[in-house]
Amino acid sequence: MSVHPEVIRLLIFLVGIIAFAALNAAYLVWLERKEAGHIQRRIGPKEVGPFGLLQPLADGIKLMTKQLIVPAGVDPVLFRIAPILVMIPAIMGFVTIPFSETLVARNLDIGLLAVFAFASVNVLGLLMGAWGSRNKYAVISAARVVSQNVAYEIPMLVTVVSLVMVSHTMNLTKIVGQQLGGFWHWNIFNFAASPLMPVAFLIFFVCMLAETNRAPFDMAEAESELIAGAFTEYPGMGFGVFFMAEYANIVIGCSMATILFLGGWDCPFGLYPGVHWFLLKMYFLIFTVIWIRWTYPRTTFYGLLNLSWKILIPISFVNLLLTSAMLKVF
């Protein structure tokens, strides 16, 4: 019996993606703690391993050895299934992300759509977990998360639509392919398509923060208001999986920003393009995400909706109109 080589390739990629997602989740926690520490003029983790590099391992072991309590009165099915439902779409998103010209698990023609579709499932898992855990704080958090995601999906997708209009494709590899050859070709500086492109990048970035529930939009967790929001009742690794999914989502969001706006694996000076440039850009964006978290206070829920409906959505529509007008004219 022979196995199709494509299947083997896909399997290898899947394992690689899961490892990548898990490693990222673990080491982004380390990065976050280190970065927060230095921003606050302290060291951060330092005891476990050199520079605290083994800290994620220790944390993981700690989380895994904890008892998985299912509190009385919860909906056991929803409660158990929710972390998985949050984690799987996060991993699925990686399938079609091109890290370089060849390093892509499955180059879908509708890759862009697939990533955003998977990203939206994430909120469903949060909602189920929050509702299932029979906690008032969690329910408040779930209500917030859902309307937050609805509100931020719109400006995000509208900006992406304007990009698709410029690129004429939803294939991520092709979108990057059009931006190759130096930073002046990148979409963020594509003033010929729309003079508002840097603003569009900002909008995308802000929406990405909101979609991944990162500070200052961490309405779901909001520890000073809702204790831990949707995760309040989750013990041990149940919480750990939510945590990993959050970081996996950040990686996806930053990858998408890199692909759509920053030319993916392209070198800014047109030399040696490759996966290293992709990772460099992506990790810089992640660094920024963490940097933002440790700088700002949290917005309120209505402040967040105001921002979306009153500022981001109008501007993204202006950008869309401008792009279509420019495309028509030139």
Binding site: Q40, I140, W294, R298, N306
Partner: protein, 372 residues
Amino acid sequence: MSAFAQTQLKETFVINLGPQHPATHGVLRVKLVMDGEYIVEAEPVLGYIHRMHEKMGENRTWAQFMPNTGRMDYLHALAYNHGYVTVVERAAGIEVPERAEYIRVITAELNRISSHLLWFGAFVLDLGGFTPLLYAFDDREQILDLLESVTGSRLTYSYFRFGGVYNDIDENFVPGALAFIKRLRERLPMYHALVTKNVILRTRLEDIGFITPEMCRKYGATGPVARGSGINFDVRKHEPYSVYPEFNFDIPVYPKGDSMARYMVRMDEIEQSMRIVEQAIAKLPDGPVMAPKAPKILKPAKGDYYHAVETARGSFGIRVVSDGTNTPYRLKLRSPTFSNLSLFGEACQGMLLPDALALMGSLDLVIPEIDR
């Protein structure tokens, strides 16, 4: 109306904020009746760290009660020490040397700055920003180091005595205090750029959490809460005690009454306290720090005496009833946050949960002082 119809009127639920909650700074519990995320009714439930200081006072000598005062408001302990020693000095007719009063004012004002700095950090932490807390701690640490070198303790100083202070300041204190003021003057613009001007913080605080002057009056709110509602009331100016009349300082008053006004009052007070410390250090007289005739065993004359001081949170009053023996007959401790918190239930009605928490943070609660 039938019982069934009544329950259908509004679908509310009760949420217990605390006693263990990240935003209640200690063990305060607030019973909230919520309609969605809107607060219909809020009832603070107190007493989780009630220690009955007033009864303790009746069981100890006048001097032995001294350490208790610093343990009520552990963030501005010296003001509480100050209030207590002043009222006992008033009752017993003890004259305090001028140098001692100056030292009291200097240390109490430094302590006020440290209290406001901690409040600043904790308040921004309530709003979800973690980093300013650590920056504020960095500055506060300098004050604690200074006070530790003088008083020997970092939080519960018990530094003042009837008739003076425990021991004189050391030679490093004055240069240290001046260096700290210079440092904080450089840091304050950073705080304002990082936090005060931040658009997220402004949208969270401006026009939210109104407290009207009438409400302040009915509930007896004092301190930054009253001053944030446009009431120019500060015991240091209103009913001057110690050597405060010697100094030239302003009382920051913001008339708007929202959370931002209270925030700005405290931030401005840091600057005013630094001015007081500078002037006091410049004028610091020589002389003894302890009244030579201060009696070892106090027996104040019969009667009752009242004295109030301005702490970082408002007017702290002590009513002392003496029966002429060496223990107080009755000690009433009027803590400012008790009154300030009592208006929370009315002020937060109809607010959203995060705004109510911002309002609660802007009241600057220190729970041991409320519960006493």
